[in-house]
């Protein structure tokens, strides 16, 4: 029972939209306490996932540490070539670089457990602080892109799947394949050229004015900030939009051919009811999956968009630190992305549990 969606999810992330729709689906958030044994089952599930997450984070930290620290020599970045041998040795000792790799790793791990990811070589400030200061910019961009893509993509996709042979549906699909294929950075270039260079109605980069909410600066709270956000968000949303549209279309097409829909029609249900009550619910599991996964991968793709639009988020930060070999920032960033991915997978899992009654046990 659990295998299919696992497969489906991973295929999705490979842009391969073959999700098993025939027996998939959802119901509105009916609690798990309806049937005896569900709470226990849920708890088992949660514990299993937490254990898994811990192991994954541990493995990730080791890989990232070995990958980033063991290759190359950080000392060359830390100090200039013309420094005396004494200072050089002292610096090596201060950073613990003369210790065996495993010892360095455990020292690192111990510090991480206390929330200390070290200091950025370039900015000279604690890495955690640095990343947290950049995170809101990326978050607001990502949320705007993914939510916007879902709001537009899902209805369009359902329409295209409901009337697959109509001219409008074919146009939608043609556009979506374009959105699916054109590299994000190129769309960014075209957007800048069109709206910033030619028409000169939107700014080409930067975050614009921000306003504080809960002590954090946000762009979406000011008109100027919003105008700065529009292009990068659209750029980031373009691929997601195509993905959501195609997914919703594929699901709708398959569900429309199913006996469930035929039976509903035979019972006299109107097309609107069929779409709203049957189709939408049946296709929402893969949609929830993509929504979650795309949210996470958008964080990663923000690297490209933020570079093009000089958006000061964590994507821009990681590119800069890769170029300047700022290793503590790279490690912390990769661990953060891994953590976010695990959390989102976890939430998606729990959503499934709430959405698909078949994952819950209990037979009358």
């Amino acid at each position: 029972m659990r295998r299919w969606w696992r497969a489906g999810r991973n295929e999705l992330s490979s842009r391969n939209l073959r999700v098993p729709f025939d027996r998939l689906a959802v119901t509105r958030g009916r609690g798990c306490e309806d049937h005896p044994g569900n709470v226990q089952l849920m708890l088992t599930h949660v514990i299993e996932r937490i254990l898994q997450a811990l192991v994954v984070m541990l493995v990730m930290s080791a890989l990232v540490f070995v990958g980033v620290y063991a290759i190359g020599n950080p000392i060359d970045v830390l100090i200039g070539p013309d420094v005396s041998q004494d200072i050089r040795l002292e610096t090596i000792a201060r950073y613990g670089l003369d210790r065996p790799l495993w010892e360095q790793y455990f020292t690192f791990l111990g510090r991480v457990l206390h929330g200390d990811f070290g200091r950025s070589f370039v900015f000279g400030m604690p890495v955690l602080e640095l990343i947290l200061s950049r995170l809101p910019a990326t978050l607001e961009l990502t949320v705007a892109a993914v939510v916007g893509a879902a709001l537009i993509g899902i209805p369009t996709g359902i329409y295209a799947g409901y009337r697959p042979d109509s001219a409008l549906a074919k146009t939608i699909m043609a556009i979506s394949i374009l959105g699916f294929s054109v590299p994000t950075f190129w769309i960014g270039l075209v957007l800048i050229m069109t709206f910033a260079v030619e028409l000169q109605i939107l700014p080409a980069g930067g975050r614009g004015d921000t306003a504080a909410l809960f002590g954090i600066e946000w762009s979406f709270l000011t008109a100027n900030g919003l105008s700065h956000m529009l292009l990068p968000a659209a750029n980031l949303a373009f691929f997601k939009l195509a993905l959501m549209t195609r997914l919703a279309r594929a699901g709708t097409r398959e569900v429309m051919l199913s006996d469930t829909v035929k039976f509903a029609r035979a019972a006299g249900l109107s097309e609107w009811t069929v779409l709203r009550r049957h189709v939408l619910r049946l296709i929402s599991i893969p949609l929830v999956t993509v929504f979650g996964l795309e949210f996470a991968s958008t964080l990663a793709f923000a690297v490209v968009t933020e570079t093009i639009f000089s958006w000061p988020g964590i994507g821009k930060l990681i590119i800069d630190s890769i170029q300047s070999l700022d290793r503590p920032v790279m490690v912390a960033y990769l661990m953060l992305v891994a953590f976010v991915f695990i959390m989102i997978n976890f939430v998606v899992d729990l959503t499934y549990f709430a959405l698909d009654p078949r994952l819950r046990k209990g037979r009358a």
Partner: protein, 292 residues
Amino acid sequence: MRKDSPAARFWAEFRESKVAVAALAVVVALVGVALLAPLIAPQDPYDLAKLALMDARRPPGYVGSGGYTHWLGTDAQGRDLFSAILYGLRISLQMGLVAGAIAFAVGVTLGISAAYLGGRREAFIMRVIDLQLAFPAILLALVISALLGQGKAQLIAALAAAQYAYFARTAHGAASAERGKDYVEAALSTPLPARQVVWRHILPNCLPPLIVVATVQVANAIALEATLSFLGVGLPVTEPSLGALIANGFQYMLSGRYWISIYPGLALILLIVAINLVGDQVRDQVNPRLKR
């Protein structure tokens, strides 16, 4: 190919979609043009001796010092953009296809072995694959190529490492499904040697979904390579791929010299869209749920 074989039937169905056939023709044409680039291109863009700074950043239609018209203009180094695009196409395709092929071989072997081995070994292999899939390909490729440094082989390694997991996952899924089918049980009850069951029965029947993933992943690899080159961690500037050409032109875009970025971009998009259109048709054809 006999006309009644499954492959022939597949082709007959494929041929019914005019768009897909046209897309396939475009792919074939682009591959052909890329292969023949040295013959077609008016200029060898790698030959620095032939480049003149006075020809740099000239608009389309400019007649340069070489005596011929630069129909698509020239880039910042004074290269004929049309020639540069042909050669860039060559590199992009090479990267995409080689990385795709390596990822395919590694991934499919892993995925099918896992499905066949079963038990703890299967669980272990697939856990590792899942772990990797939980990480966005672009970040992985970015980090790996940053670590390995610039160069074709390094880039191919980064692309393949970022992509093999998708093949492994798909191959594993398809092989697990096939393993439970009656014809595999029939082969097991004959009994046929395990190796024969895997290579002669399971693998051929896993090919359709793998072909779909392969088309998508080759397109992805090309786009990914372009993105990495754009971000400056891909290929060296001396041998620019399409992505590097676009990146090189980016800085001139704000000053209105659009052609340096736009034309290589159009070539890239044409290639990727065409591959994806072919993949789309194949996907529809191999999806049993749309067959009624």
